[in-house]
Amino acid sequence: MRVSLTVNGRPQQADDVWEGESLLYVLRERLGLPGAKNACEQGECGSCTVRLDGELVCSCLVAAGQAEGREVVTVEGLADHAAGRRATAPGVGLDEARRWQPVPGEGARLAPIQQAFIDAGAVQCGFCTPGLLVAADELLEQNPEPTDADIREALSGNLCRCTGYEKIMDAVRLAAARQAEEV
């Protein structure tokens, strides 16, 4: 079957999709977006985490056909997604908005949470990182001043076997603090 959806703001179409196929497979193998990772295939590890119509989901548990006509954001689109949020956030003056310029060179731009992961040393092997970034970004969108308990709960569906999570906690706190300074 054919599946049409919007991924990271762009209309996309995948043909010859098997009816039992997951959204994760469509993203990785048909649309060339390998950011969301394929690991447990049962919703345990969170490495395939994406946004589906804004909701945080495991893309391995979404049937491809269920994504028909929906909007998906993957880690590849996280910088744009986060930038869009800031652009629509109240408090940006007209002059400031006029001065805004895109950073040249596609791929060079990072979402604040991505920069915070780098700065805090929250990335080791990197396999869990895309899922954690999407989940952490959603947390900061919903709750700009999360407590440690909030962070732990928000990331409880994402497994990391390298870091012991402490650096990841640091990164989310750092991104939250930077976000607060900006406002």
């Binding site: 049962q42 945080l56 495991c58 049937a63 269920q66 989940a135 709960e153 409880s156």
Partner: protein, 297 residues
């Protein structure tokens, strides 16, 4: 495999009548696991996510009609006052990603003895609203809905439209045993609801018998002990011996097995502990008066 995408509830019922072996899929948190692991290759997948009313709920005077696909995340957020036991149970489900997709209809459809919602539904009192194109709607009391391990009372042409759950008239509690606070399939779970209006206590046991069950003998014992001692009026602390007997009878209601998550003996013991704790918590709320329907996280 065919992917059926009904745009309305009537279309979904028609599709299920035409293809009785079609597997309904909503949040996908059970069905997709089976497909990903090649444990299941249904001829038809029946996608219910286009049907808006399945994700809505209506709050009546006595009950909440909860759409089959209302995700756990929304139950936690919006139905804490009306359905405190279920809201607590919803909060123990897996992770935020799973709670955004999974709902009670799927839990009932799968009918795993370890499903997190079941003990809360049993304790609160609920009816499953099943519907077919041929025979319309019927209400199945949740007590008789679970017929075996991963088996339920649905006919092949039926779909779950909603669950009608009694609104809390007193404190409710829910507790679950697992190795961590997230991403855990229950080793065992226990739900308890005080119903001051009828002066009864109801229970629900998960993952400690082939199906979710109520501890009916324990309920009868406690109901008489509370009635005879005038506890509902006085709000006195329940005698420790009565609490202990209630816990023992709850443990005795179990019919567990040894498996990878725990032994039968451990499950029986743990259910006794959970029964005692949830009764104490709920009774403290009842005595405290105003905190009645707010569950502790």
């Amino acid at each position: 495999m065919e992917f059926l995408r009904p745009a309305s509830w009537q279309e979904a019922l028609a599709a299920k009548a035409e293809h009785p072996t079609a597997v309904p899929i909503a949040g996908g948190t059970d069905v997709m696991v089976e497909i990903n692991f090649d444990h299941r290759r249904p001829t038809h997948l029946l996608d219910l996510t286009r049907i808006g009313e399945l994700t809505e709920w209506e709050t009546g005077t006595d009950s909440v009609r909860l759409g089959a696909s209302v995700p756990y995340a929304r139950i936690m957020r919006h139905l804490r006052a009306e359905l405190p036991g279920l809201a607590l149970a919803a909060h123990t489900v897996a992770s935020p990603q799973i709670r955004n997709r999974g709902g009670v209809g799927g839990n009932l459809g799968t009918a795993s003895p370890a499903g997190d919602a079941h003990p809360a539904l049993l304790a609160a009192g609920a009816e499953v609203e099943a519907e077919s194109a041929a025979r319309g709607t019927r209400l199945i009391p949740v007590d008789t809905f679970y017929t075996g391990v991963k088996r339920n009372a649905l006919e092949p042409d039926e779909l779950i439209r909603a669950v009608r759950i009694a609104r809390a008239d007193g404190p409710q509690q829910y507790s679950k045993v697992g190795t961590r606070n997230a991403m855990v399939i229950a080793v065992c779970a226990f739900g308890l609801a005080l119903h001051p209006e009828t002066r009864t206590v109801r229970t629900g046991i998960g993952s400690a018998a082939p199906t979710p069950i109520r501890a009916e003998v324990a309920e009868q014992f406690l109901n008489s002990a509370l009635e005879e001692g005038g506890f509902w009026e006085s709000g006195q602390i329940i005698a420790p011996s009565a609490v202990k007997q209630f816990a023992t009878l709850c443990a005795a209601a179990c019919n567990p097995i040894d498996d990878v998550r725990g032994t039968a003996g451990y499950r029986r013991h743990a259910i006794g502990v959970l029964a005692r704790r949830t009764l104490m918590w709920a009774w403290e709320s009842y005595r405290g008066g105003h905190r009645v329907t707010e569950g502790a996280a």
